[in-house]
């Protein structure tokens, strides 16, 4: 048997933070699009393509900076493709998202074979990973050091971005207009602001964040590309976004919760304990979270519903 103290250690907290980072980055992008009334489930595909491009660019240039930049560009391009078929060609937002995800899976498979001649996964020592950051001022105490120091650059960046987006969304003109776009587009239009432009902006920003999330998966969390390596993290991002009530700070907490379940799950697995029930927790929690938020919303509806 195992004891609880073996699972709940300081390193579990570290694992929680690390596992939450890609979810958090994706979720931040999803908040921006959701506020503009686009549930961008295509983020899964955006992350996947970015993860691949990050590895490729880092491999060729030998620089993780180039890797991240390339991943961001790739993310924005896929997001633009999403914008093209959803905003311009009027595809349903979920259909567009599903199509983007199928496309991304095939696209990365193709490039993997075409550029590196392999199938399944690609690893090379020439891939330059995103470095860990050592903040010497945190070394004052071993516990503080373990808890807060030596994370990957992206782990820190994601947390900074939580506050950046919190500021952008709630304190700027841009954010105000974005929040109106989702809840009352007609009011936005009569205010002389183009709803389509706001939606495009939101999608492109989610491309940037999805790009960072992808780069973190393949250059930070691991240093390789594996086919379909996002493995639903974009969808968990959707879950975190809903769970966090479409607001950056609470979504951060939700991402940590999902990271935590993943961390505990991984640990239980190594101990031979069936991890599946832990691993499914985020998804079950999400179904409940969405349901409760809808029940709450229904009570406020005055409009006639067909059933």
């Amino acid at each position: 048997m195992f004891s609880l103290s073996e699972i709940f250690t300081l390193t579990l907290i570290r694992a929680t933070v690390r596992m939450s980072t890609p979810i958090l980055l994706a979720a931040l992008g999803l908040i921006v699009t959701e506020l503009a009334n686009i549930t961008n489930i295509g983020v899964e595909g955006i992350m996947l393509v970015s993860a691949f491009i990050a590895v490729a660019a880092s491999y060729w240039s030998g620089s993780w900076v180039v890797g991240i930049l390339a991943a961001v560009v790739a993310g924005v391009l896929i997001a633009a493709l999403m914008a093209l078929i959803h905003l311009k060609f009027k595809a349903d937002v979920f259909v567009a998202g599903i199509a983007i995800n199928l496309f991304s899976l095939a696209f990365t498979r193709f490039l993997l074979k075409n550029w590196f001649g392999v199938a399944g996964s690609f690893y090379s020592p020439r891939i330059s990973p995103i470095p860990r950051i050592n903040l010497s001022f945190l070394q004052i105490h071993p516990v503080i050091d373990t808890l807060f120091n030596n994370y990957n650059l992206m782990d820190y960046l994601a947390i900074v971005l939580v506050f950046v987006f919190n500021f952008l969304i709630y304190k700027t003109v841009w954010g105000l207009r974005l929040r109106f776009t989702g809840v009352h587009p007609a009011a936005v239009e009569t205010g002389g602001i183009s709803v389509t432009t706001k939606k495009l902006q939101a999608l492109l920003i989610s491309g940037v964040l999805g790009g960072l999330a992808g780069a973190h998966l393949s250059l930070g969390y691991t240093t390789q590309f594996i086919e379909n390596m996002t493995n639903g993290r974009g969808f968990i991002g959707v879950a975190a976004m809903y769970f966090g009530g479409v607001a950056p700070i609470t979504t951060w907490l939700a991402s940590l919760f999902f990271g935590f379940t993943e961390g505990v799950g991984a640990r239980l697995q190594t101990m031979g304990f069936p991890s599946q029930f832990i691993l499914m927790m985020p998804y079950v929690a999400t179904v409940f979270a969405i349901t409760f938020s809808m029940i709450r919303q229904q009570k406020k509806l005055t409009q006639k519903q067909p059933f």
Binding site: A91, D92, A99, L105, F277, Y283
Partner: protein, 356 residues
Amino acid sequence: MKPSILDRLSKLQSPINVLAAVLLGLVIGTALMAIQGHNIIEAYTALFNGAFNGRFNFGGTLERFVPLLLSGLAFAVASQASVFNVGVEGQLYFGAIVAAYFGYVIVGLPSVLHVALVLLLAGLAGAIWAFIPGFLRATWRVNEVCTTIMLNYVAIFFTSYIVNHVFKNPNIGVPQTPTIQDSARLARIMMPSRANTGIFIALGMVVFFIWLMDYTTIGYKIKAVGFNAHFATYVGFRSRWIMIGTMALSGLIGGITGAMQVIGIHGYFLDNFSVGYGFDGIMVALLARNNLKAIPFVAFFLAVLKSGAIGMERFTGIPRELIGIMEAVIILFAAAEALIVIRKRVSLGKGGAEVV
């Protein structure tokens, strides 16, 4: 007033868009081949041979045809009531594990009965699993795309638990269930390929659902709810339960899709066995624009592409992933409702767009 050519074309808007998407995919795929210096004629010949030439190749195409057909049917049936069942993947996992269990534990039944029973129970499992998102959607308008995606993961983890800890073949290292009884197996029809009699069951199901949708009162009500739930409720239908029921029907097909892979192809349930059959189904339904009669053709087309891609890779060295790109481009643009817009002339005269 005689309908103009534009008016006529506007009715074909949807198929024209799909056709344009397919063409776009073929053009981009072919261009990629050409850019990489492959001989296009050779490539397509190899693709054709890979899909049709010989019992093994053609059997391979048919083998891929069945899950495409069924999962496409599952998605399209739900969409008749305008519900997006992205959860076919999860439903087929439940169907598969249930099929593996009852295919193994029931001994001594005649084959026909055993197969029927297994399919029925698997369908039931899928239906129950689909009932959850259907109920949430119809009762509180909880978005079914989100819930079904989440429930897919739950289904995968849950069946993974079963196959790892509860019902595992102890003789094999990999997590898979014991092999089912021979009586539960579907007969192979094109050895040495794995094509089996499941194809007839699948086609029969398509015919049944076309009949259900077009010739029964249930089908009429489902369509009414899908087109306009306000109308359906107003004329006295129980829209909510019709929507939930349609979702369960879709889940039933999803469950059978999974069972068919177990009793037709593998003979056991393997952890994480689906290579995205459920998502392929979305692609099929999307290309068929949810038209049940078009589903077999689209499913066959995609099966040919998938199975031909392998032959093409083997004989010409063109990576099969290129065909994947082709599919992906097709799906991307098939999603677009307004790739090509044919505007209908709107008459401003009194009485409006009167078709007299």
